[in-house]
Symmetry: D2
Subunit: 379 residues, 4 copies
């Protein structure tokens, strides 16, 4: 028997991350056939060939369309800029390939809806790259919630902050153009929403606000250009389960590098997590005498599947790239027809709709009800 044939489109930040995952998944997990790294597509044939050699792919192409129809390819990893996702994903699905597309689905909701339709029509697996939900910590949290360890969750706060847009004197570039999307909200706010989705399910109402910390930025030839996107977004939310909450996003937050700060308050305890310390989670429960109650810092360990597949000793730490290897394994699981801890297009569309609702609310200044936007499915 032979492993899945892989086609990779794009070799930037996430493209390399996918490639590393495809290279490693069999060795890490030991229970899947080694994928065949079949074809790599880049903007030019030359670049594609160089990257194919580095990343271990058998063939290279400067034409992604040939990749998505290549008979040697079973799964297409799409890691190009967001604007390309719809065309590539739909083409791959229509060619009968499974798709593993980086988040978000698209820059506009209608495109995402078309992608979902294509996925449903194809009957193939269409998964999204939401790395952070693959942290074994997140699965631990989910299990703790399911077991009622902190009771009923009634309040949720999620913050996501980085500082790649924090310098007001950095030259204007495409992330400040309206065509790139709303700003922090869709640029990385989708990660916050993915965590809420995987832990709790849907959001039913939102009230958003978006802000520009800097009205303009310098341009190369001198002068300044008005910023069109919102580097900051804050949102009040109500979840389907009735919990209240807030989401705060800031991509101009000096000093924050990869912070995703999650606070889950329940009737019997509290869970706190920070992605910048991705191998730790804080748990407070009301068990035991009051004098020794406190937030405990749990370090990731072989207790927290699938950490054990990476390292047999506790507390030694997974890295960001390992999360993609986990996601890769989940994708294969889904392709094999098993249940998987994964965000598919069916789930992802809810995230996209929430983004759209928050943006509309920010512009209108009133609460927006998400449920009215379309049918809802179980996770």
């Amino acid at each position: 028997m032979t492993g899945l044939g892989i086609g990779l489109i794009g070799t930037g930040y996430m493209g390399k991350c996918h490639a590393l995952a495809w290279n490693a998944v069999a060795a890490v997990f030991g229970d899947v056939e080694r994928p065949r790294l079949a074809v790599l597509a880049e903007a030019s044939q030359d670049l594609a060939e160089r990257k194919a050699r580095e990343l271990g792919f058998a063939r290279a192409t400067g034409d992604w369309r040939s990749l998505v129809t290549d008979p040697a390819v079973d799964v297409v990893s799409i890691t190009t800029p967001n604007a390309f996702h719809p065309e590539m994903a739909i083409a791959a699905l229509e060619a009968g390939k499974h798709v593993w597309c980086e988040k978000p689905m698209a820059t506009r909701l209608p495109d995402a809806e078309r992608m979902l339709a294509a996925a449903r029509a194809s009957g193939k697996v269409a998964a999204l790259g939401y790395n952070y939900i693959q942290n074994p910590i997140v699965r631990l949290i989910r299990r703790l919630l399911d077991e009622g360890r902190i009771g009923e969750v009634n309040h949720v706060r999620v913050e996501m902050d980085e500082d790649f847009m924090a310098n007001p004197e950095e030259l204007f570039y495409w992330k400040s153009e309206a065509s790139s999307g709303h700003g922090a909200l869709d640029d990385f706010g989708v990660h916050a929403l993915s965590l809420i989705w995987i832990l709790f399910g849907g959001v039913r109402r939102v009230c958003g606000h978006m802000a520009k910390p800097y009205a303009d930025r310098p341009v190369k030839d001198g002068g300044r250009r008005s910023v069109e996107t919102y580097d900051i977004a804050t949102t009040l939310i109500e979840l389907d389960n009735g919990a209240s909450g807030a989401i705060a996003l800031n991509r101009s937050a000096w000093g924050r590098k990869g912070r995703i700060f999650v606070q889950l308050f329940g009737s019997k305890g509290t869970i706190v997590f920070d992605q910048e310390r991705m191998n730790e989670v804080q748990l407070y429960t009301t068990d035991g005498a009051g004098e020794t109650q406190g937030f405990r810092t749990i370090l990731t360990s072989p207790h927290h599947s699938p950490y054990d597949k990476f390292i047999p000793a506790p507390g030694h730490g997974l890295g960001f790239n390992d999360l993609k290897i986990v996601e890769c394994r989940e994708l294969i699981r889904r392709i094999d027809g098993e249940a998987a801890h994964l965000i598919t297009f069916d789930d992802g569309i809810r995230i996209e709709r929430a983004v759209d609702a928050i943006a509309r609310s920010a512009h209108s200044g009133v609460w927006v009800d998400i449920a009215t936007g379309g049918d809802r499915q179980a996770a």
Copy 2:
């Protein structure tokens, strides 16, 4: 020359705290006359006498009205439940006494406005007990802001969480009755607003949300009673200075004991503070090479006035009660006609108006503009 004559009404949590401050202020600072602890009022003569003996007051009374007119009294400390503040403060001011009243001013905005009017009419000092702004860390933050160390602040987040209402099986008591106020918002949200006020000035627009984590609570004789107040409140804000922000309050937050988590994002850096670690502040600036940039943890020290009045060595730590001693010194400064780091009724009314606006917004579901609510004064 002789020190100020002190009258203390109430000897609960904050009453004892006031008494400790009046006892200690002269010895700590060494530059004020030792206050005369003149009269203590409690609900009964017996209780008053016992407490006067413990706390070092010369005389005791079961009638607070006699205290506020007592010639030996120059300043009245009011530490009774919030509902009593207006009557007592107004009586004391009308009797020509200075007033040091615990926050918040009142349970209803019109009462607070009457207190302000009385204060203005009296010409006496009317100050509020907002302990947390007295942390030397807060003054350090203010100085860092004034010096532009983190540039222009464009985003502010303040969280305040405790868990004294977290247990859903605790018996219903007055904090769940509508007559006690809105809930988390005025019960301690005023502290969050006091920090914003002292650091940045006013809030111009708010959009609030309030939630009940528990619909009902048990009553003594069996059965359950509906909860009328909101233990959780979240608010989107815009400050007068244009910054965006969010306030999140939860008095049912298991594991949080005295958390006031403040994040101030600026164009050149970030400041983070947590009252649960009240002797530390985190500062990130863009100074120096990128490879060594990071949040630095600054421990309180004699560099941070008036820490030096308490301890000559750095990093040894002030406590919660010390903050009240600092506040006491500021109050005396104000009485002596000097500038003081203090929240007076003139400032406090802005906090009360913000509370009122947030509550109205939470009920209406739309943003409320605070500036339209009345005149604004410089801090």
Copy 3:
């Protein structure tokens, strides 16, 4: 009935701290007679009078000998430089006064032994100022140990680090002179030993090492003078209970301000404490499922006596000066003939002997057995 009459010698760092404690102890605890602040002694009559006014003492003197025999004085607080402790303490004890003397007992072991003899002969309470053991956290630790919460403790590490000697370009001053003692070992190492004593009892064997980070320091008139004391000391220890351990002391540790880092390893768990975060303690136990085991951070609260006497709410934080108020209450308890959490001369002499043994070991390069140095008593 009237409270104890207090005589205070010295008004520096610790003198003020004692004064604040005597001022506050009755109001904080509510169950002791208010001490009478009778006489204050300082180097000159003028200074004494000024300080007496500030600190609330009735009378002042420039002659400490008159203070220790003053009929109005029941307890003498000795807060002068260490070299004066023996003479003053012995005089006070011989005059029939209780003594509360700051640590360490003396600069030379024979003097400490003479102090102990005087204390025993007097029948009066002779207590030492070891603030850190008064942290409610320390009592909590002791109780957890007694209850076997971490099983048998088999390994102990204590570090104490500050940076007041860290700058090599600071002018030579008396702390670098041999006459001031060994250096870090007795200057503050006694605090580390006091914690070991109160938690575990005696140390039976030591192997020490002392180091000079800087060979010389500048003098005022130019040039440099050789440093005679050791700013760094490290020691291997074996406790009476058989546990192994290490003590590391550094008063030239840049960035450490008041760090006392304690790690206690037992057969069922671990306790970690850092005085720089004096309102927290970390506890790890093997209770419960492995997947949720972790160090829990316990915040001080009313559960941890006598925190409740200061603040009725948890997590609000005591300060360094509050520890002295606790110690003051324990002293009064002992004077009243009750058991007390306190280091008396009988206990303190063991600390002094351990210091002496460590210093001898550091010079000889071999282990020194402390038990052979004299009789041992139960704590």
Copy 4:
């Protein structure tokens, strides 16, 4: 051109880690030829074949001797239990292969010396697996030291603690047998010494102590067996550069999972690192005003080579397995004749000699001078 041919002996904890590194190194770094995973050896042919399939090796053998002479093999990864290292490494070197052997070199110093002799005779690269020095943080620390950012380092503390031997009721197994070595000292203490070596060079004098937290452990058939190894070791050290220090090791430290706590005190600052938070380092310097000095937490980022080869964004975190990939790249660098950040047998022998000296000191109770044990070379 073709990549190095790899032979892997052993597929346990570290064997898998090596395999993952060989699989990933080319894709991560993009500047080396993709290694050929040629032969894998395990205890049996069956196991070898299964593991070869999982880990991507072309051939499998149950006979490691055939692997070390296989013409397709250029480098031999040795990841078997320590007792096998000498025989395998010497055979591989004698067969003209490069060797990458997990730490420590051997269970007895004479064996390690024989390995060194074989390496020198072969002219091949003989490297040791010391993962932790490959953390980009460690290189950052080294660079900061070289640049004098914390001045002259005068005091060093290294702690290494895990809890895999912490349960006294776990069945006796080989780690408690004397044949396995001294205990914590060589089992993982070598890691502590490797960090000291890479940052500072050699240790010149040591004074050790070793302890058994549990005298005996249960055996399967009932009863208990005496423990022969020391789960705890503490050592006073003097470095070649004159700095004093201490090393504390505990493999029965409940709650510690992979803690390596390093404190480096210098004349101008301090560096603190904890491997359990392997993506952070704390730096304190005396730059700037005292009021804003503090330990800054630096998160790993592309500033810290070779983090950038893994992830282009800061603060996203490397994992434990990534360190082995870095080490693999350094090994290839060395094979290519370049300078490398790597511990070779020439360096490793100093670590082994230090271990031997500490153990002898622990038994004799006196300081042992390491320099007298043999020639020293520059790092």
